[in-house]
Symmetry: C2
Subunit: 579 residues, 2 copies
């Protein structure tokens, strides 16, 4: 082993000295120097997986990059891979085509479904591929005790996960910031187990003493800032602040001015959640750079946020720069506007060449992760007998926001049952437990989905990912739900007693086992039908649905165990007496 | 253990929240924020050894620092503790009084004398004291094979040292840069053993492909820059560059302009070698800051070089900033000019209060390190019979430089022997092996010492630290040498057959076991006598002597095995035939 290291060093030295030809040389490009935040015209010499020299070099293979720009490969400081609905190796292809060579992933969703074995699945699926996937251990599985998750991760489970693989780096976003600042025992256990690693934060709006306490507990980064003042305070208190631009959360433009207030070394870029259509249409971290440049920030100031800073945040040495001894993760661009790479090198290998992917992945091993453990659904399960003299608690959607309002509405009644009423846009909703065969079904109503016919369903439902259905009638809800039960989960739309379209997500009910373009086409088909059945074009009901069962965002949510008043953090009945 | 961690976190959180009183609060100071490189008026709350909050706090103890400046404790990125001639715990006192709370030490000198046991001695002596001493393992013991060192450290010894203590961080300055860039096997072994740690550099003037090769070998910092261009290239290639201001090497003023060329995050401050008189008279890292400010650089730009940057360079988390969760190593200053701290906190304890040291050290354990293993010296040992028709190779000192010239001079002859000649300032010199009792004595002549009577001697002689003597006559040389043999080494001056003054260095012949002020007084006494015996006031013969046996600096040197022509890297005879 050490002999190998010695031989490697000897060969690297000889190559750097020009005594030995490099394996690969990028010839004559404008090379970004992240340490001086400037460009220099130079060759980049690579031996094996490493850069060995910047200067004038000859290589066994040479790629002419005159007039082009060479940067380190990009890093995403915080991402939930599951948001793409793609299996890790499919997602990797898209990320590589966009110049992302390293991601720090929080497998929060699959862990809520499958626990440790979900994380093991991710580790296995991300092994031996030309994308570095580091895993932080999800900190909040389950997120609450108000619904039924697929699994529970205790502090001791989490410590065991830490030992699984050197790519497991630390603790993922500690969302329970209330638990931290109030010193909840179970939260302290988790923090204690990861004091010597990196602990990711999630602390929206935390300030002053609360922020001090949160950071004193060992939490060293945050991706939830929405204002410059918030970002500045967090940097000043020692955090790395991740400027986020996801599919749901758009914070980048608001946060970029923080670069004028603090040393940029403590800022990174992250996507957090990015859907397959946005990945294909816009890109990943490269899209964030494109936004930054469009906003007038110099590429030289932005590039460290996507490279070296993130490496430093996570204590990774030898990645994130174009310099001797660094891993040859490199992007080549024609211009610094679109940040669409011409070539991408991972570990010295041109995994993207002339814009085309140069890597064939083995197929995903999806058979191990079928998770739909629930009885078949009969329409009668969704019946809601009227309670005389009462009104319904209805979940009221807000335009462009995840928060909901608790509405009190008179029921529409048919044969003594409360039913969906498309004229008032009050639709029946059901959350069906799908992990343990309990048969739990929580029932309620939602206003704002705007479906005029049929029913839609999804097994993506934060954070416990039970089966969520919304429909204009019980029969189509059952058809939709049973289809998902049968195919292992996914997204579905049914009408007139039949399934109109599906996006199967057989991996834990969260991820497809198909190629990205197939998944994107399935999604488009699904959205076609959704709009065909009455939903306006500018509204994405599946994304909205996926958050309606998350009992931590105010005001009213529905879980498999019934309605939750999030402001009181407790279950409430569907019916409310006349005020 | 983990319960303790949990309890610690809980108490830190409660203190940060103000629910629990802090142990100590620095009230109302101007607090330096290294992340924003700016100042804010705030209290600093400390619990145990850690900072838990910045803001408004109350403490069981409070120190009023209104109108004063609070900074992180200073770090010296590279220092040979032995240069002070003080035992580590005595040196610690001086460093603390100057606001230095962390040093990265290379015990190169003591390792050349004592090998692993010298490093163990340093580790033991630096345990449990209010100064963090990190040790990097000396990379070049011995420095060459042209003389006789006290010990040899093989790559496998060095790996063993790494396991001794978590304070052993990496490999110390790889001086054999020729060995690196030519891929010498023994050098590769050492580099291979430390690839996963920090490897310190020493690469004066290295540039281009050589520099690429040196860095590709895993070497990540350098403290030998003398020009801005050199520093800039090294930063651009990925190195941390240490701006040095020692007692011998004065590079800071020349290098400071590099801060206008590169992001300052990759620059640190170091002293390398600092003598007891300079430490007492000028200070340590705080003196470097004083110079920087005097040169017109803002304190805000300089302070990161003495704090966070150094921590990042060595991969230390949680030190180098005034922020929650950081170790409470803090300095308090009245102004930002002299950088003479009023208070110094180490691990939350006011180790310096109102300018006075608040720590009593146990005595040094010096008995284990007596090292003078040599026979008594008889004046006859220094006799040099004349070789007819030949001239002497004489070491010619250069003004204010360590390089020497090879001079060829006619001998002054008395009774058939070549003798010292004060009229031409050509004095006899001897280097006596003192580690293994070999009796080796190398003889030669030196011009430039300017002694008119007597002899001087020292056991500080880079890098093998044999006994070096220079004298006007053999008898005084023997008196001087035998005195050092008897007292365990040190510095001495003898004249007229008797010892005039000594500075005993009983610890390995390198370090005193006395207090700093005593050592300084002994040094002054010694210099008084040196000048009394003819040496001009502006010349320090002991420092010069300590480098005359180092066979890596051109042009001519004397070791215990005879003269060395450094340009040819080989021994040469004392006598040279007529040209």
């Amino acid at each position: 082993m050490e002999d190998n290291v010695r031989a490697r060093i000897a060969a690297d030295i000889a190559t750097a000295e020009g005594v030995r030809k490099a394996d690969l040389v990028l010839k004559g490009g404008q090379v970004f120097n992240v340490f001086t935040q400037s460009w220099e015209t130079a060759d980049v010499a690579i031996r094996g997986s490493r850069i060995v020299g910047i200067g004038e070099y000859e290589g066994g293979r040479e790629i002419d990059v005159h007039g082009k720009y060479v940067t380190p490969g990009f890093m995403d400081a915080h991402v939930h891979l599951e948001s793409s609905m793609l299996a890790p190796r499919e997602l990797a292809k898209i990320l590589l085509l966009n110049g992302v060579t390293t991601v720090f992933a929080d497998p929060h969703e699959i862990a809520n479904v499958l626990g440790v074995s979900g994380i093991e699945f991710f580790l296995e699926e991300t092994e031996d591929m030309p994308l570095s996937v580091y895993i932080n251990v999800p900190s909040c599985v389950p997120a609450t005790n108000l619904d039924t998750s697929g699994a529970i991760l205790t502090a001791s489970d989490m410590k065991a996960v830490r030992e699984l693989n050197p790519r497991v780096r630390g603790l993922a976003e500690m969302m329970n910031y209330v638990g931290v600042v109030t010193g909840q025992l179970e939260v302290l256990d988790k923090l204690a187990a990861f004091q010597d690693g990196v602990i990711d934060g999630h602390a929206p709006g935390l300030t002053g003493r609360d922020l001090n306490a949160y950071i004193a507990a060992g939490i060293t980064n945050d991706h939830e800032c929405i204002t410059v003042a918030e970002a500045k305070e967090k940097v000043a208190r020692g955090m790395y602040v991740f400027l986020r631009e996801g599919s749901a959360a758009h914070n980048l433009v608001d946060l970029l001015p923080v670069l004028q207030e603090v040393d940029n070394r403590r800022c990174c870029l992250c996507t957090d959640d990015r859907h397959v259509d946005d990945l294909i249409g816009q890109g990943s971290i490269n899209y964030l750079l494109e936004i930054g440049v469009t906003q007038g920030y110099p590429a030289e100031q932005l590039l460290p946020l996507a490279t070296l800073n993130t490496a430093e945040c996570f204590g990774l040495r030898g990645v994130g720069a174009v310099a001797p001894g660094y891993t040859a993760d490199l992007n080549v661009f024609d211009d610094l506007e679109s940040f669409q790479p011409v070539h991408v090198l991972k570990d010295g290998y041109p995994v993207v060449y002339n814009g085309r992917l140069n890597w064939t992945s083995r197929p995903v091993r999806s058979q191990a992760v079928f998770t739909m453990n629930m009885p078949p659904l009969d329409p009668s399960a969704f019946r809601i007998p009227v309670e005389e003299g009462c009104r319904l608690r209805v979940i009221g959607l807000s335009q462009n926001q995840l928060v909901t309002k608790e509405l009190h509405k008179a029921p529409s009644v048919l044969n003594g049952e409360a039913v969906s009423d498309t004229s008032r846009d009050i639709l029946k909703m059901a959350v069906c437990e799908r992990h343990h065969g309990t048969g739990n079904i929580g029932l309620g109503f939602v206003r704002g989905v705007q479906l005029k016919r049929g029913a839609i369903g999804t097994t993506v439902g934060h954070d416990s990912h039970n089966l969520t259905l919304v429909g204009t009638n019980d029969e189509d809800m059952a058809v939709a739900g049973n289809k998902l039960r049968e195919i292992g989960g996914g997204l579905v739309i049914a009408a007139d007693g039949e399934v109109k379209a599906t996006l199967p997500l057989p991996i834990a009910g969260l991820l497809s086992d198909r190629a990205a373009d197939v998944v994107n086409a399935q999604l488009k088909q699904l959205l076609f039908w959704v709009h065909e059945l009455g939903v306006p074009d500018d509204f994405s009901p599946f994304m909205v649905l996926s958050f309606l069962s998350l009992p931590v965002i105010p005001e009213l949510r529905l879980t498999d165990r019934g309605l939750v008043d999030v402001t009181r953090f407790s279950h409430v009945p569907l019916w409310v007496g006349e005020e």
